[in-house]
Amino acid sequence: MNRPVRVLAMGIFAIFTVLVAAVTYHQVIVGPDYRDDPRNVRVAAAITGRERGTIITADGVVVASSEADPDDPLSFRRSYPEGPLYSHTVGYSTILFGDQGVEAFRSDELTSDRDATISGVLAALVGGDIRPKGLRLTIEHNLQSVARAALGDQRGAVVALEPRTGAVLAMVSTPDFDPNLLVGGNAAPAGEALDTDPAQPRLNRATAALFPPGSTFKVITASAAFEAGVASPGTPFPNPVELELPGSTATISNFNGQPCGPGAEVPLSTAFINSCNTIFGMLGMEVGADQLVGTAESFGFNAEPPFDIPSVASVIPPAESFEFDLPGVAQSAIGQRDVRATPLQMALAAAAVANNGEIMVPYLVDEVFNAEGIVQESAEPVVWLRATTPSSAGALADLMEGVVTSGTGRRASVPGVRIAGKTGTAEDPAGPPHAWFIGYGPVGAGPGDPQIALAVLVESGGDAGEAATGGTVAAPIAQEIFAEFFGLSSETE
């Protein structure tokens, strides 16, 4: 009579065991997945509700802050007072789209410990400061604004930094977007609109997009030639209308289809100042693939820059791939073929010339300060690479100054400041050429000089389209930035 009761009891206990297993599975084993599921608004409520630290620019403009939520006095709402201007640098902290930019890589400092975790409670008990910390960026707000305005509605990027330290002074990528839209109530459709936009506004063109560097790469080719002892600025080169590439029907010609100035021979310096492809093609073949690739890598190619913001490695194919491809070497030497670079990389190349051949690790956060405003941590400049020797850098500086005083980069010049630079008009089979300008200033040995190095990229020629060149499209943008930086209005020109 009791047997069936026992059987039922065992049956029910077996099922209870399964229930216990299921609870364990849902709460302990896959629990973290449920907790982090983007559709689980608990996470959202917890993140948005928490106070985050303030982010200010080098000159004290607030670019990210947490404000008390009007609907819920206990929680906070992230706000970006400058709207789109810092969308790719400061980034955003959101529920649906995660964190980006400074908001992501300095999240530890920006978040409050006031979250009832054991460590937070312990810290509070021993009198520790659990309030979120604030960050002071290296970016100059006015410079950032001018760089953004100069790009206008063209797609492109500007990276400006201090050559001696690596401190980023401005970093803009266009098109940009308003991060406030990703925080608010209509975040999902706003984010979807950004993702489906063919102009890819969320792509940070300054650090995460690769473009053929075109003639700006000649800085590296020239450096390789100086290092290898193949040529010096005065070395004369033959001056054909077009360069016939060995073992190939392809040719390299100059931008205007003309020889590189008058005469049967021209010095390398003239070829650099006038950006002659014919002669740099020859130079590249003389330098050889090993030296060219090696120098490019010492400038930072084929390595991810150790930057705060996710940055891709600029690319030059390995030397072995050019073993039976001399034309490829010639084309790579003028920054075409398979050479690709980010605007950050090319800004670092200009900074290397400005800084006697050394590239500093670029950084965006200058200081961490606590809730009382007391600085707790300051950035220390660190050398990343030795790109070239001081003597090569000096020779390159002369050539680059010539570009701005009498060459293709004249439209980057500002009165009273010695500017060095190099233009680039990079052909892209997919569309109009990309317009480049890289440069720095002031040239010379004043204390603290040079103060700024930059790269300007206007994707697919911008408003000028097929007619765009680095000298006509990118150099004027650089000029506006230099003018702002050196306290000169561009109108005074």
Partner: protein
């Protein structure tokens, strides 16, 4: 002596409830208020009166069943208070009513014990069927049925005073009455059912005469419940019928036949009804239709996952995001705010309740008492399994209350009376 342990444990449960309320208050920033004292008072009065009744009329009854029930009620009540203090205040009245009703039942059974129920089985059967039919009363009557969430299993009484309505779920009471009927009926017939019968192949069926009234009772209850689209209660009653016949006859064939009927019935329901298909889809693929049919299940899973080991803390989670958080999904709410620790405590409490119930059944010499104890235990166990299985995604969600924990007066009252019958049955269980 054991009654002293009961008193201490009941006081502990009252403290659990009032501490829970004060934690919720602290989390919401309202601080300690009258709610804490009121909660302690209501628990103390309800369970105190039951305890005094047991001391007097069933001193040898099992002293652990009511403390377990009180603990589960306290856990559920705390979470209900956290979700909606107004519901909690109604639930407090329900607890007072349930305490009074349970005390009254113990008073009623004071002399003869549960044995006296055996005599009135057809009254219980008729009352149960009547109760199950009540929700079908037309809306225009003062006492009428009401449809909630697509299931017509509620009864509302419009009181002439003011515009107040009194709602209750008659199915909850009916399950207790039907268990008494079944225990009584099977106690009379089990010998005949087990021994006589016709062979149908390898299966020996009882005489139709023996099984007839049972089948009619079962069929009528299901028909009503299926008509009211209350899948959970149908399954519960079906499981009760099948397992009790199994207990009475000892023939496992009934279990297999029952499982086969559930399987076949489920299959046909799946083929025939859209809403069953939707529910099964939501069960199997809740994430694919997150916004609609899978929403409740996924929110329950999110709640449990977010609770993790120790929970978010009372008042600090978001169980309010789960649809039906205070009724069907009360377990997920508790799991979120009290964590894995809380859910295991709840599961262990149900396990202890079921173990004690089956223990009473096994020790009872009297057949009616044995069947009654087994049946009542099965009701609690199966009901918990049905809704917990739904919340934990082992079964489709059927929509039935979690005994003692879910918000709802009828459910609380019926389950308290159920436990009272179990305790009374254990008083002098060896006679």
């Amino acid at each position: 002596m054991t009654r002293n342990a009961e008193a201490a444990l009941l006081a502990a449960a009252a403290i659990v409830a009032s501490m829970g309320v004060s934690l919720v208050n602290l989390a919401s920033g309202t601080g300690l208020d009258a709610q804490v004292a009121l909660t302690f008072l209501v628990f103390a009065v309800s369970f105190g009166s039951i305890h005094m009744a047991l001391r007097r009329w069933a001193p040898e009854g099992n002293p652990y069943l009511f403390p377990i029930a009180a603990f589960l009620t306290a856990m559920g009540f705390t979470e209900i208070y956290r979700l909606d203090p107004e519901l909690a205040s109604i639930q407090r009245w329900s607890l007072l009513l349930a305490g009074a009703a349970t005390t009254a039942v113990l008073l009623f059974l004071r002399d003869e014990g549960v044995i006296m129920l055996r005599r009135y089985r057809y009254i219980f059967l008729a009352t149960a069927v009547l109760l199950l039919l009540l929700p079908l009363l037309p809306e225009s009557w003062p006492l009428h049925g009401a449809e909630v969430n697509g299931s017509r299993l509620w009864v509302r009484l419009e009181l002439p005073v003011g515009m107040r309505t009194l709602s209750f779920q008659p199915g909850e009471i009916a399950k207790v009455l039907l268990t008494i009927f079944l225990a009584s009926y099977l106690a009379d017939r089990h010998v005949a059912m087990a021994q006589t019968g016709r062979k149908l192949g390898p299966i020996r069926l009882p005489e139709p005469r023996q099984l007839g009234p049972l089948l009619i009772a079962a069929g009528a209850s299901f028909a009503v419940l299926v008509y009211q689209r209350d899948l959970g209660a149908s399954l519960l009653l079906f499981a009760l019928f099948v397992t009790m016949v199994y207990v009475a006859t000892g023939r496992a064939a009934y279990l297999f036949a029952g499982a086969a009927i559930v399987g076949a019935g489920g299959y046909f329901a799946y083929r025939a009804f859209d809403h069953v298909q939707r529910r099964v889809f939501a069960w199997l693929h809740p994430f694919e239709d997150f916004a609609d049919s899978g929403y409740q299940i996924v929110q329950g899973l999110f709640a449990m996952g977010s609770g993790s080991l120790t929970g978010s803390g009372l008042g600090l989670g978001r169980p309010d995001l789960i649809p039906a958080a205070s009724t069907d999904f009360i377990f997920a709410s508790v799991a979120e705010e009290m964590g894995f620790a809380g859910s295991i405590a709840v599961l262990a409490a149900y396990g202890l309740l079921v173990a004690a119930g089956f223990g009473i059944a096994i020790r009872s010499r009297d057949v009616f008492r044995k069947f009654l104890a087994a049946g009542l235990t099965i009701v609690i166990g199966v009901q918990a399994i049905l809704i917990l299985g739904g919340v934990l995604r082992l079964l489709p969600v059927t929509g039935i209350t979690l005994p003692f924990m879910s918000y709802g007066g009828s459910s609380l009252l019926a389950n308290m009376v159920l436990v009272a019958l179990l305790v009374r049955a254990s008083h002098g269980e060896r006679t």
